[in-house]
């Protein structure tokens, strides 16, 4: 058991570091260290320019959102309806997607960088108040961010007339209380309004148009915002010099599971391949115990699985999307050949079924059905009918072809992510994704578990419909 004096996880290397540049210092979270290493210089540079110029700079950087959807931040900020004020910034620090581990590190290890990012975003996009929503279970991150906010207020970086300018803003620290779905941006807003964290329908509730208290609201991920001090200080051209045209900069990626050296790595965006990450000397150094790779989840628990023949894909959103999965939140989960695939899929389906907010029937009922049927298959009480039943229930959540790694092999067109769904948010489909990936890629493992069909009274599945 490891009790670290300071947060573990991050493994440094010689790669360019944008958001983890201070992680090598044990006191990286203090305002003293922050100021000694160029801290708040980005804010100074931003405040020296008109707000629209800073917005243009962020647009030019093509900074892609790191929360899952990969939408360009500069474009999102421009989607607010003209002339409608006040507008708010809500920071999504609710990190809870299975496999994802980066925002917590950024909050624990460099809270001032996040705060500076929030300030730059509010200045550039004309946002009047900032709410920093941190996952409830992250006690250390809450303490570090609270201390950093207190220090930054005292030093004049937050509050009235920041650095002697007419820029004035409050950043309010807010804790969640344990609910995965609250990470979805409209649920985050509901939660921040003091309600049960249930997603709203889009349209009309696109946060940029109708968000917190019905006002235009920008929701950005912690890592997205942590990139802004660099962009404001060094300019978009220095940022786009790293990575590729469509995926500039770096990304934090957590690789967990059966690798020799699991960890969180800041990688060059767009060019680093899954093979580099899983086998590279400076990254995970291969599969544990000399085992062989069986499958991996490329982008968080909601992402369709990949087989070893997809290892050479680079960490690039559009390519991975076209291959039938997604980069999501930058989380790779690795399974070696000893993995019990149905049981592994069950852990994820359990997760999403458990986390359903209950608003849509296909997610609430379908997720629970998937979990129960899969559980009885894993327990050895299933029948071959159950395998079809799983697909049938899944079809009611995600009608039409599902994208996944073996699409081509199966003679299907790889449908790019995202796919069709009958639910308000992605929690519903996410319960099915692992079942579908596992069942189509490793059907024989399921067949080995089930007895031949018995004449069982089938319960009809009519869960099609609900909200769309």
């Amino acid at each position: 058991m490891t009790t670290y004096a300071w947060a573990p996880g991050f493994i440094a290397g010689d790669r360019p570091k944008i958001v983890t540049s201070r992680f090598e210092y044990e006191d990286s979270y203090t305002i003293e260290r922050y100021l000694a290493t160029g801290g708040y210089e980005g804010l100074r540079a931003a405040l020296a320019r008109p707000s629209y110029v800073v917005h243009d700079e962020v647009r030019a950087s093509t900074l892609l959102g790191r929360g899952g959807a990969g939408f360009p931040a500069g474009v999102k900020w421009g989607l607010t309806p003209g002339g409608v004020y006040p507008r708010y910034l809500v920071v999504n620090g609710d990190e809870s997607e299975p496999g994802t581990y980066k925002d917590r590190l950024l909050m624990e290890r460099d809270p001032h960088q996040l705060i500076e990012g929030c300030l730059i975003a509010c200045y550039a996009a004309g946002l009047s108040q900032c709410f920093l929503y941190i996952r409830g279970e992250m006690a250390l991150a809450q303490e570090r961010v609270a201390q950093a906010l207190n220090d930054a207020y005292a030093a004049g970086y937050i509050g009235k007339n920041i650095l002697g300018t007419n820029f004035s803003i409050d950043i309010v620290l807010h804790w969640g209380a344990g609910a995965y779905v609250v990470g979805e941006e409209t649920a985050l807003i509901e939660s921040l309004e003091g309600n049960r964290g249930m997603p709203r329908l889009k349209p009309p509730f696109f946060p940029a148009a109708i968000g917190l208290y019905g006002q235009p609201t920008i929701v950005n991920n912690v890592e997205t915002l942590a990139n802004l001090p660099f962009i404001a200080r060094h300019g978009a051209s220095d940022y786009t010099a790293i990575g590729t045209e469509t995926s500039p900069g770096t990304r934090m990626v957590a690789v967990s599971g059966h690798v020799k050296r699991p960890g969180v790595y800041e990688i060059v965006n767009g060019t680093t391949t899954f093979r580099d990450l899983l086998y590279g000397e400076e990254f995970c150094q291969g599969i544990r115990d000399g085992n062989t790779l069986k499958a991996f989840v490329p982008g968080g628990g909601s992402a369709p699985w990949f087989l070893p023949d997809q290892l050479d894909l680079p960490f690039e959103g559009r390519l991975v999307g076209a291959a039938g999965s997604m980069l999501g939140s930058g989380a790779i989960m690795v399974m070696d050949h000893t993995t019990d695939i149905p049981a592994a899929a069950l852990t994820l389906t359990n997760f999403y079924a458990h986390e359903s907010c209950g608003k849509c029937v296909p997610c609430r009922e379908g997720g629970t059905w998937l979990m129960r049927i899969l559980q009885r298959v894993v327990d050895g009480h299933g029948t071959t009918d159950d395998l079809e039943l799983l697909l049938e229930v899944g079809e009611s959540i995600c009608p039409g072809d599902m994208p996944h790694a073996a699409s081509a092999e199966l003679g299907l067109d790889a449908t790019p992510f995202p796919y069709k769904m009958t639910t308000i948010c992605f929690v519903g489909p996410s319960a099915y994704v692992p079942v579908h990936s596992a069942l189509t890629l490793f059907r024989s493992e399921f067949e080995a578990l089930v007895a031949p069909s018995r004449q069982r009274t089938r319960i009809p599945v009519t869960a099609v419909g609900g909200a769309s």
Partner: protein, 207 residues
């Protein structure tokens, strides 16, 4: 059955004032109540309802959605063992079995002496450090079955009191916005103009 005490009531007022609408403070105030008593009492919920101007049913309605709030007394130490994929791949089940044996309870239960409650938890954002757990939301990483038994014995013997506060206490550092520096909540009912620092491009540019 305790309401929020005087000190916490003052803290509650400070928290409520940060938000344009008082109801937004509901979750932070429920945390405050849980910190005070170790769980959220009915009295505290009624008090919170008064403070933010909603009905007690609304407070309960919101509170029960969130996993962290306990509406009955639980152990002084809540052990959450992660069972999601990355941890499951690296031995979360064995860890749970060891904890269950050591404590003599099943997941979901509380020991008779009120010291421990054991839960199976979902992903804790520490997946590269699997298998992991939290005790009152303080992490332990790469834990083996032998180590968890040892750890439980140490907690019982009071060896981790400084580092792990009793259940309900989350962050021990709070945000305080200094009166002379704070801008105050920006209420849509009172403000509908662009902030003063906003400038638009001279000609058709970004807004």
């Amino acid at each position: 059955m305790p309401r929020l005490n005087e000190q916490n009531t003052a803290l509650a007022a400070e928290i409520i004032a940060r938000y344009p609408r008082p109801k937004s403070a509901l979750i932070p105030l429920l945390h405050l109540a849980q910190e005070q008593d170790g769980w959220v009492t009915d009295e505290a919920m009624r008090h919170i309802a008064d403070l933010v101007g909603v009905t007690p049913a609304e407070v309960r309605g919101t509170g029960t959605f969130y996993e962290m709030f306990q509406f009955e007394p639980i152990g002084r130490y809540l052990i959450n063992i992660c069972g999601t994929m990355s941890c499951a791949l690296l031995g979360a089940d064995e860890l749970m079995r060891a904890a269950e044996e050591e404590l003599g309870i099943h997941a979901g239960g509380t020991t008779d002496d009120g010291m421990f409650t054991l839960h199976r938890a979902e992903c804790q954002a520490a997946c590269t450090e699997a298998p992991c757990l939290q005790v009152n939301y303080r992490y332990r990483f790469r834990v083996t079955p032998v180590e968890i038994r040892q750890f439980i014995r140490e907690i019982r013997a009071g060896q981790h009191e400084a580092e792990i506060p009793s259940h309900g206490t989350l962050a021990r550092i709070r945000q305080h916005i200094p009166v002379d520096r704070g801008v105050g909540a920006v209420d849509p009912a009172a403000v509908n103009e662009a902030p003063v620092w906003v400038t638009t491009a001279p000609e058709g540019g970004a807004s």
